[in-house]
Homo-oligomer: 449 residues x 2
């Protein structure tokens, strides 16, 4: 531990690393576990990260580069210089290579592709051929060809030959002679079986996905099954690749970071917070803030329309933040619940009516509770009139907000938007305006203004 | 697909399954892929889920039960009846068994433990011995003992014998004769090596964790390393178990669901949304709503203190939701960014000053932009005085909210609370009150009220 912290202090200072210290630093970097070095690189600016990678031994530097996000890798390209990058690039698995290519400007991506040898380029091209966001982009196209008529011994022999080229030899797809997927087996099963047995006897019903399926959805249902890898097939049922658990983990992780960011009304940073430039942090937030502020102009309009009512009973303005806040919170609760349920697949778009009906009842229950408390407190302090207004507004606002909050993420998904976009602040801002209208209409009729 | 939907319709209807249909349903349930059956069970109430499990073949029913969350399994206990549950329980891996025991009332948990045979009980007891929230609770205690002086052939022989009892044989910890962890190797390496070679020659530097380490933190740094499993050691460096990637996925998934819920100001549901009772949904939200509503009483106080100012210039009340909303949004952006960064380990508690300094500058930049726009718009519509008040309030509110929003999750973590607790709505509610004080102080001095 102390090693990495000392290194971090040295690397955080703005001075350049003097050549005479390079050997010493290099030796220091060789000691800590690889995960600490990855963490160190992730927390550094691109220039500093490049220095660290150059100081590492060749094998460790490839491991570290491999462990970084594609966005972070892309940032390092400039700082590293072409030679080092080409070498890292060639060592990546084809699917990780494609993720990195996606982050690079087109002409740089092409230059990178040209550095690959023919077979590597072909295999990378397979992955590039699937649409963005599809699982085909994230699969490993290098799979061992195990035919259903092979014996266990023949299969083991074949695996020994290809073991260095494929991403996994633990989960094994079994195919017919025309490459149709017929089943899966595992090295574990082969390993404990009789050598003369046929692989077909060890075959299980395969869990698989289509190469054009949505990457996030596929990864979400695949991961809880606790299996290491599954075959990916094309439209005619032919084996085209394997999705390994670690690629699925990456996909879900990216999606969750995006959802967390959107629910907080900003864009995901792509990079560790402390190594992101101030400008990028501002950029990830400003558009959302502006959109929300412009929507909030609606509340200024609403209040402007009721300015006479407000002037006649200034006491009404005291409750504005309480009422809009409570409406926003109730809406957020419903929205985050449904957004998460959609992401996990627990709720599907066609469940929209069940969700609306549930949230309507939940909202009424919450509204009845809060409304009763609001009625009692406000009556005691501000009189019966205000008590009735506050109590009934709370009831209505909670009911509306919960229903709208629950339904919005589903509508977003139906129109092809990210459900998390309609979470938290967006729902608050929209429910503020309607809540205020309800409030003043009730106040006008109860208080006779 | 149609199969499962048809099944779902049958099972959603409230009628009981008549005995003469049981065989037909049983046959229908045997066809769809296991993941669809899991989904179906997850979306059903406990009673219905129990019916499905009883209709499944023995092997499939165990697979399905195994794939459910511990909370969901616990819910099924009553509906399933003891005999079936004991059988499922005995089939679970020791770590999953402990997760289920944690969800059950103590006397039921004890009754379950008594159903295990001696060796199973011992091994489960090992896992139960570690503190809640530690990685020791989630590891697999059944590991093959590969000693550093064994040859590849001896190791493979041993693995064949224990393959059925251990959770993974793909990542293999290597230990000294006194059980100290000395390295790791993989079945893949053994498989392609010479049989007479020593395992020590194939050994890599191990990635490992301590059994008392925090489960969430450990799972978070382990998963991005893309390895299948890692050894877990006790304080003296002895091997006590393995953490497999699927258990790490479960841990991170639970933590993310919890964070998503907290950032939306409610408690996580533990179960798929549609199969959770209305009462539980209300309970997961009401406490937060009450706490937030009570904190919002502070805004009523603040506005009450400035009631004279409001009466003198009712126009000021028009901007209340805009200003509190913008402050809340800026605070939320900072809070969700930092909460996520803390969860991923990108930010550590001791970075609090760097975070505060970043967010102060980000807040000032955002505030300057929004303030400038607010100044122009408000000046044009409501006159220069109001323009100055709105512009400068926006600037100060953004600066304060971003700084406070960024620092709060770190403070929460330092005092041992969940950082997500201080996300979104909580920060909004708190920043509302301070924002309003700033607003009225500026208004009073600029407008001379």
């Amino acid at each position: 531990m102390t090693d990495v912290n000392a290194l971090e202090r040295i690397l955080r200072s703005d001075e350049d690393v003097p050549p005479e210290r390079a050997a010493e630093l290099s030796a220091m970097l060789d000691q800590p576990p690889i995960r600490d070095v990855v963490r160190l690189v992730e927390r550094s600016t691109a220039t500093r990260a490049a220095v660290v990678l150059r100081l590492l031994s060749r094998r460790r530097s490839i491991q570290v580069f491999d462990a970084l996000d594609a966005a972070h890798q892309a940032d390092l390209i400039d700082a590293l210089g072409d030679r080092a990058v080409y070498e890292f690039f060639a060592e990546l698995d084809p699917d990780d290579r494609v993720s990195l290519l996606d982050e690079l400007p087109a002409e740089i991506a092409e230059r990178f592709m040209r550095t690959l040898d023919d077979s590597e380029r072909d295999i990378t091209g397979v992955v590039l051929g699937y649409p963005r966001g599809s699982i085909g982009r994230r699969m490993s196209p290098e799979v061992p060809h195990i035919y259903e008529d092979m014996s266990v011994d023949e299969t083991l022999e074949k695996l020994r030959l290809v073991a260095d080229d494929v991403e996994t030899i633990y989960t094994l797809p079994i195919i017919s002679r025309d490459r149709l997927l017929v089943g899966v087996t595992s090295l574990r099963k082969l390993f404990t079986a009789e050598g003369s047995a046929g692989v077909a006897e060890l075959m299980d019903e395969p869990v698989f996905a289509g190469a054009h399926d949505d990457a996030e959805e596929t990864a979400r249902w695949f991961l809880p099954l606790d299996i290491l890898a599954m075959p990916i097939i094309d439209e005619s049922g032919r084996l085209v690749g394997m999705l390994t658990f670690d690629d699925a983990v990456d996909i879900v992780e990216e999606a969750d970071s995006e959802d967390a960011a959107r629910s907080g009304a900003h864009e995901p940073l792509q990079q560790p917070y402390l190594s992101t430039s101030l400008f990028r942090v501002v950029r990830s937030r400003i558009v959302w803030l502006l959109v929300l502020a412009v929507s909030a102009l609606l509340t200024v309009q609403v209040l402007g329309a009721f300015e006479d009512t407000l002037a006649a009973a200034v006491v009404l303005s005291l409750f504005i933040p309480l009422l809009t806040g409570t409406g926003g919170n109730t809406g957020n609760q419903a929205a985050t619940t449904v957004t998460r349920a959609l992401a996990l697949g627990d709720v599907r778009p066609r469940d929209v009516l069940s969700v609306a009906w549930r949230e309507l009842r939940v909202g009424m229950l919450l509204g009845a509770l809060l409304g009763a408390i609001g009625f009692i407190l406000a009556s005691l302090v501000f009189g019966l009139d205000i008590g009735i207004v506050i109590g009934s507004t709370l009831f209505l606002v909670c009911t509306m907000s919960a229903t709208v909050g629950g339904v919005m993420p589903i509508i977003a998904k139906k129109v092809g938007a990210d459900p998390a976009v309609f979470s938290n602040p967006f729902i608050s801002t929209l429910s503020d305006a309607t809540g205020l209208v309800v409030y003043f209409l009730i106040a006008k009729s109860v208080m006779g203004l």
